[in-house]
């Protein structure tokens, strides 16, 4: 980025996003918890989707046949908090393979949904997860469009937004989230984010030693201009094949500048109007 003049810099950094630590320092120290989803281990059994629906008592999405491989769910939504993506990849040499990934809310370290929420319904809970208190959600729908991963949805039934809670209730009782508990291959791992990152990096090294050189981590470290994700992934192909953005953008970056431009336009037009209105008599 070009060097910015000081006032522009101030505006660019106005309204800084909130960072993870919200818990009171008086509280007993808890590590930030997250998911590491290793797609090389995923067998596409959808047990996570089912376990999530059951534990969180989410409504069904209806019976749709999409024709998109074995994926009839499509995407995460207000009623689907785990979604198993199936992508068929056919390479030039005639071989084919499946990409399978259990998608989930990324629990971003600087979550745009949390900044967008006008009621403070979206918060970081004591486990460092982005938690939506849907009882005080007003249904304005701003988080839906703020999320660069398209995770949140607003339910037509109750008019509230809903998303993955990382099984806050289970975590509070010392249990792991339902999806991680049920995963038969340990593709979904749950734990303190720092530990998961170490583990994930070892896993990538291991895979690369075995010749699977395309393995890499998505969201374990910060992106070009987006924070790291507390629910990150090990992928083996371009993120777009998993319906993930290659370089997510923080929608609120430069908000101060955009306010300044708008207000300045208003003041300028008012000043011109004052001239016209004052000219007569």
């Amino acid at each position: 980025m070009n060097p910015l003049t000081p006032p522009l810099d101030v505006l660019l950094n106005a309204f800084p996003p909130r960072y993870t630590p919200v818990p009171d320092p008086e509280d007993e120290p808890t590590a930030r918890m997250g998911f590491f989803t290793d797609t090389t281990l995923c067998i596409g059994c959808k047990a996570c989707e089912v376990a999530c629906k059951q534990w969180n008592q989410l409504p069904s999405d209806g019976l749709d046949f999409t024709g998109n491989s074995y994926d009839n769910t499509g995407h995460l939504s207000q009623s689907t908090w785990r979604h198993v993506a199936f992508k068929e990849r056919h390479s030039e040499d005639g071989t084919s393979r499946w990409l399978m990934m259990s998608d989930v809310c990324k629990h971003c370290e600087e979550a745009p949904c949390l900044q967008a929420c006008p009621t403070g319904s979206l918060i970081y809970n004591e486990f460092g997860d982005v938690y939506l208190q849907n009882d005080i959600c007003n249904g304005c729908g701003y988080c839906v469009v703020a999320c660069p991963f398209g995770v949140l949805g607003r339910s037509d039934e109750d008019g509230h937004a809903h998303k993955c809670t990382m099984c806050y209730d289970r975590q509070s009782d010392g249990m792991e989230p339902a999806c991680a508990k049920v995963c038969p291959t340990n593709s979904i791992q749950f734990g303190p984010v720092e530990e998961l990152r170490e583990q994930a990096k070892k896993r990538v090294e291991q895979l690369q030693e075995r010749g699977r050189e395309s393995a890499y981590l998505y969201g374990a470290d910060a992106f070009e201009e987006y924070s790291s994700l507390n629910a990150f992934f090990l992928l083996e192909d371009h993120p777009n094949h998993y319906n993930l953005p290659e370089q997510p953008k923080h929608p609120f970056k430069g908000q101060g500048v955009r306010y300044a431009v708008g207000i300045a336009a208003g003041v300028a037009l008012s000043a011109v109007s004052a001239l016209f209105l004052a000219r007569e008599d």
Partner: protein, 372 residues
Amino acid sequence: MKRPGLIETGRNSRAIGRRDDRSPQGEDRDAEEAGYYDLSMLKPPVWKWEIASYFFLGGLSAGAYLLSRLAARFGGRSMEGVRSVGTAVAAIAALPCAPLLIKDLGHMSRFHHMLRVVKPESPMSVGTWALTVYSAAVALSAVQEWLGSESLDGAAKRRIAAALERGRPIMVTALDGAGIPAALVMISYTGVLVSCTAIPAWSRQAWLSPLFVASGMSTAAASIQLGLAATREGEEPTAAEAALEKIESVARLAEAVSLGGYLRSAGPLARPLTHGKLAHHTLLAAAALAIPEAIHHLLPGKPSRWKTYLAAGITLAGGMSLRWAVVHAGRESANDPHAARQASGPSHPEQGRLSLRESSADRLLSRSERRL
């Protein structure tokens, strides 16, 4: 979620199994394979006509309020009409704003719940508070206007007016001190609101805010002009109307610059506005920037009331069209998988690419990116 099935569309069947048909549809298949079937990674906005109408009325009302305050401060006797009609327009246009938002939220109480939190980093919260403060200021201004008018008489009113007369300078200063900043936020925040989203057509577009400001000003001037034209005696426009016409011209110029700037900076991401079913809305909004000028300056004949009605009406229709197009473009833009992929691409394609080895996937992707 309803999507076309395998049998109905040839696109899906190519994406799934028939790998051997390399050409002539080979390119097409590559483009599809670059993403996740035909699905977008983003969720479409839940905002519909209520929000488009609110954006229009909120901008118009705030603009009218600003013009009426400016006329009160700087205008002479001949501008009194702008002050009184402007206040009336601002109050009438502000009336449906909160109900429209409540309609979108679904419950009466939810608007109130919005006011439990002040959150300056969220434009939604800023807007709610701006609307609340602004509505109060505009309502009080309207009451003040009514008390000062000659249409109503009576002992009670005279007593209230006399009581208020002593506090009047303080009240006016207090009202303007709260109302003018709130109106400036009201007229501009809607553009900031939509720009602080991940929707490709809106995301981080700095031109949207001045675009809405200029449109708010031009539609406000047009509606005040309508009110003045309806009450004037002769056919010749008054000095106030002439001033409003000039204000409208400047605002329309600013709107044209902003619209051009937006379409230029958004480029292919603004496609929902320029192609498909919203294109005629955008076209009407753009045409409404030029047609009123033509009516006033090119149409033969003397200035008449009907010319004013026509020109102001077109300006208003254009303003509504603009909000309609921009708000509804969000849905189309979010549902377009190509736009979402393009908007989330690396800012520096060479350095930004993730540490992927140059695989066939990359080649396919770069080929499809070129196609975009």
